[in-house]
Symmetry: C2
Subunit: 192 residues, 2 copies
């Protein structure tokens, strides 16, 4: 059994990193700042993460696992789709999401367990597209439509979170309704 104290430091460091990412973006995550926030020496985090990108990888792993859960969770309404769930996950977990979608921060290829969780989330999306297209769908079409659906969700999420879209669409009264509309447009064009 691992020491309780050490495991709690790992958790504390991770939480601090996610909070910083949510508040100021992943670039603001610093080894020394998370150590300071955890009340330990500047080298303590290195015992739980190989280096700075190790923290990013851990955030990815956790984030993709949570994303999978969100995508599989029961939808709030009958015409709410997976694209919408993706966008809401991003907006509700900005600290994780910003890190997950920056593969310059964490090279998933180097972190098998993080990669595994990312693959799992992607597979859930592929299955959804397959079920929308029906049984006998061509594999090329599945590929194209999967990329398409991910692009809509991902594009909308990143533009709302960090992009200049917010500036241009400041006149939106009901953000949830807006996301719902865009998501519906996307899924409708697949179903056809």
């Amino acid at each position: 059994m691992a020491s309780t104290k050490s495991e709690s430091l790992r958790r504390t460091v991770l939480d601090a990193a996610v909070a910083i990412s949510a508040a100021s973006g992943p670039d603001a995550i610093s080894m020394r700042e998370v150590a300071r926030e955890a009340g330990v020496s500047h080298q303590a985090p290195y015992h739980h993460f190989t280096d700075r990108s190790g923290i990013f990888a851990a955030i990815c792993e956790e984030g993709f696992r949570q994303l999978s859960e969100s995508l599989l969770a029961p939808r709030p309404s009958i015409d709410s789709n997976m694209c919408e769930a993706y966008v809401h996950f991003a907006l509700q977990n900005p600290g994780h999401f910003r890190v997950m979608m920056r593969n310059d921060l964490c090279q998933l290829a180097d972190y098998p367990s993080a990669r595994f969780e990312a693959d799992r989330a992607f597979d859930i999306l592929v299955e959804e597209v397959k079920s929308l297209l029906g049984e006998g769908a061509d594999s090329e079409v599945v590929k194209t439509q999967t990329a398409y659906m991910w692009s809509v969700g991902h594009g909308l999420a990143t533009l709302l979170l960090d992009g200049p879209l917010e500036l241009k669409l400041e006149g939106i009264d009901d953000m949830n309704a807006f996301i719902h509309q865009v998501s519906r447009t996307a899924v409708a064009s697949i179903r056809k």
Copy 2:
């Protein structure tokens, strides 16, 4: 008339920054590195840019101007659309694009001339959506569909450039054809 030498340093610094962004991402852009690359002291760039984010703002301004040109340029084929043009711009100008879409790097609100160019590019997109929807389109619908089209282009571009999509879709033979297919799906669902 401004001194030739100084103007050329500004240009040199900007080119170096864009090259670094294309090769290693915007975070790898450092004041001292671009100065080194330009063969000047580490403080020389400060005479042309207020600080590091000033360089990002300059890259944004230039990038959005070039994006507008690309969006308005004659299309290579009759069924090539603006979404496709957007993705191709991103893939052909990764150094600029990566900076343009990270508003944690450059706060457009603080740099009016960069903001102007960004607005202009966005307006071009809005006009395209209006012309796809026809004359009497409701302004709410225009807003939704503009966000939708930008999301597809932006999502596909960022996923291909820096996201994990590349990993999952490694079996794509003809990338241009793939981008064409996804873009067609997007615009087709607007036209309707």
